[in-house]
Symmetry: D2
Subunit: 308 residues, 4 copies
């Protein structure tokens, strides 16, 4: 496994068929410098423009349409001592007639303390004290170039991944994307020091990162939506509006996966999901929302791993 360092001078606001910034072999590791959502680098200097400027693309040798590109998130290290977030709920996550009661939108800063493992809001919170929360780094936007010649804004997401803004994309998790073009063309960026479910203020704690990922080609693994796994179990991802449709995509993909990877027929898979599935609402803010369908590890049939 070769380790590559990628510190780009050019960034992209779409996931599409752009000129590769790096070529790697199947199985290689990449340590990538990423900007924050509006282009700020590790010194807080703007080096690209919004939305979510991407590091990449990375051409992975051997990846072809019909394969999957499997990403393991090895580490996410914030490279600034501060991040920022918005101070108000997005208008689409509250009752429409409540919208005028929301505060005016501002950007507030957070201190990031990797040693203490925490983030602290640098603005007044409550009479009882500051708002201090655990540091929990995650990738906001990553994925591959879509099929069909599309170049899709990093503001949104689709079968190819993109701006999914899920707090579950943290170190230890892995995820496979359907390869749409030769070489897959993998992009990553938009790191958050922390985020709640739904990204309901429209941001996490946004900052620059050093992201370490390993890339593996899964030949002939044909998937329709991202499929992943972490210590808690396996998951599938659906990206669409409204939430109902995102949930349909994720659930359908999980039903297929339980057949392909665990040998369950439709009734068996339905029983397992009906009585044990878990859903997470990753983001309910972007043009496409993201719903995660999970099956906990301890209820999965104990079969030999296939293409997983």
């Amino acid at each position: 496994m070769t380790t590559h360092r990628l510190t780009p001078s050019r960034f992209f606001n779409t996931l599409g068929p752009h000129e590769p910034a790096l070529h790697v072999a199947d199985g290689d590791r990449v340590v990538a410098a990423t900007l924050d959502a509006v282009g700020g680098d590790d010194a807080g200097v703007a080096r690209a423009s919004r939305p979510n400027p991407m590091t990449g693309p990375i051409f992975v040798e051997g990846a072809e349409p019909g394969d999957a590109l499997h990403i393991t998130i090895e580490s996410l290290r914030p490279t600034r001592a501060t991040g920022w977030s918005r101070n108000t709920l997005a208008p689409n996550v509250v009752d429409p007639d409540f919208v005028p009661s929301l505060p005016e939108r501002q950007t507030h800063e957070w201190a990031i303390d990797p040693d203490a493992g925490s983030v602290r809001l640098l603005a007044p919170f409550a009479e009882t004290g500051d708002l201090v929360l655990p540091l929990a780094p995650m990738i906001g936007c990553f994925g591959v170039a879509p099929a069909g010649g599309e170049a899709i804004s990093t503001a949104t997401s689709g079968p190819h991944g993109g701006n999914m803004d899920w707090r579950g994309f943290r170190p230890g998790a892995s995820v496979a994307f359907p390869v749409g073009v030769p070489g897959a063309l993998f992009f990553l960026g938009d790191g958050h020091a922390r985020q709640g479910d739904g990204e309901i203020v429209g941001t996490g704690v946004e900052t620059s990162f050093e992201m370490t990922v390993a890339l593996r080609v899964q030949k002939g693994r044909s998937i329709a939506w991202p499929r992943g796994e972490d210590a808690a179990g396996i998951f599938t991802i659906g990206n669409a509006r409204p939430l109902d449709q995102a949930l349909q995509h994720a659930t359908t993909e999980m039903l297929r996966r339980l057949g392909e990877d665990y040998g369950l027929d439709r009734a068996g898979a339905s029983h397992l999901l009906g009585q044990a599935v878990r859903y997470e609402i990753a983001n309910v803010f972007n043009p496409a929302y993201t719903v995660v369908c999970r099956v906990p590890a301890d209820v999965l049939p104990d079969v030999p791993a296939r293409s997983r």
Copy 2:
């Protein structure tokens, strides 16, 4: 605290202004026998008809519109050795063009073993063995008579509660409903031995129960949607279609609650929710879907409890 036993001979398929089956004082406990979703009792004999025949209503002295009725779920004891569920995902939770691939709908039985703390599917599952899952009893349908003279089917839900089908309504959890009529008129039933998120096969493991709850009137606590708490923290409930709207109701109610109960202004509450909120999809099957908005206990401001 007086303990009442309620084993009714008459059941209701709507939550509405029906004749009380029992009068209790503020703070009393009720041990209620409940039927399964299609009316089966502890001997499996049909004693009422679908949907979700309710035990009750219970008139709580002192409860008036403008108050909340606070329910603590003390215990849920299955009273049959078997339950049943459906064997196929509901057509609305998969991609529309995938619907014809679903198996034909059948009802399958489960063995319930309270000593082992498990439920076991009494139908073939996988080559590797049976499907055995932890017993995790919950209340599918409960709530109060709605305001405005409505009588609402137990198939659906609203601000008054109803058929929310959330696996979080388990022993140790409590929840307050907005009182709509004098005496509140509390109903309960539709117990599940277990259920996944979303109730995506349209059922949990359905069976009869003995449910023990304590009822407390919260005078002058004006709430718009159910608000509860459990060991993990506090939560609010939104019931509507689509999921987006259910989420809006729950989130708006939580924003109000964080102000009323924890003294947070809108910006402070937004910061807390933005970086720490958790959502659960309770059901995505009933005419109204149910979304739960949660704030974990360990991130809540440490203020003296008010009307909580």
Copy 3:
């Protein structure tokens, strides 16, 4: 055909199993006095409270569950010289981040001139002059008692009808509702002197009316949603949130109707709908939205009318 006059002293805010105000025979005509949406009578005096107090119920002899109750709207005569409406779009019909740009909600008056056949806004409109629009009376809320013992608020709608707020419910139109209880128990009220598609300010031009309808029992006509006809053709009604689901209900009902009433198989009906269907958005304001699915008269197969 006997003609009855109904000028009630008691009004209802739910469609449910209430004591009949009138008994009529199959085929009779009723001339009913109705209040406006907040209870104002022909003198502008408040005689009942919101929402949409109903005149009725009318017990129709011979109507049983499994039948349909067919209503022909013969005339709608405003009984006041003024009506009122709101001055701002509802927050749910604009982009969420646009909501704060909406004007503060007020009620404005309109003059109703039946001789001129117009309504005129009694508030400033544009530099070029007043806002004068054609008088186009319609019924906002009508229907029958639901099945299953429900009593449903007149704020919303369902298979039983209710607050559909469609400008197409005007003189000359007829519509059948599925009978849910013996005698059908028909209610009507909430007349509008005029309304655009969608009722997007949350009101039409609201006023009191004298409504004349004929009621006919269609024995054994089993329908799932309201089905009607007017000079332009036939239509079906779906009531639900979101619009997508209301459209699904209306479209499915039309597919069934084209089979039952016109002998078209599924493929034939699909071809006809695919290339000739018309949709109308009746209301996108109430708790349940209403979508109308239409087939124009001139493209319908020329078959003998059956139960139509």
Copy 4:
């Protein structure tokens, strides 16, 4: 006004920053040969692949981001004697549990008779005879390259236009798109000989066309969504899922337009829309649905045209 003929040898499946096939001056007319939705030309020979291969792009001199490109549809002439459609409703437009009742998807042919002004289904319809409907040509997919470097599939739509599949895009109608890149880069294709509302079988009567359009640059006309006009009045277009959001986009854009072009303040515009707006459901099939918001010509204030 110069007239250009464009009969391309290369076609595009995305609207994006592709090499122009033609440069024209502001105000010029283009007569363009277009393929059907799967690439069939006037001889029925496949010359490109799905979805909706586009003729273009056309670079319009002087068009810059911040301007609008105004298209007048002058004529649409089918260039084949046949078209095709699907024989079954799309699964997303019927109730989910009704989907298994839909016929298997097939493609059926139609005869197109321009002299008779009709299309005739070349498959069995009803006992009473064939299905013959008026010929009513329309453009399914057209628009400009999006801003931000995106290349968007011709299967879907957005602020830039695209696959809106509205039967109102017929000769005599005009529409302006927001310019996203220098020269606008206009594309067109996917003509239908006829289509109902919603494109609910997933197709119109698909065929090849000769399309004649005039292109005009509207300097400094900043619009968020397509805005158009025809003999019946003015309209705005919203493209999104679900229908509710498409309607929000279209309604918000109309509120802005009534201010900019007709001098109406928000309350005045709300009164006009509330009591006179018309909605059309253009398509409820594509990844983004399309809703049209209309104000009839006879109720518009009589002000001098500005940038219209």
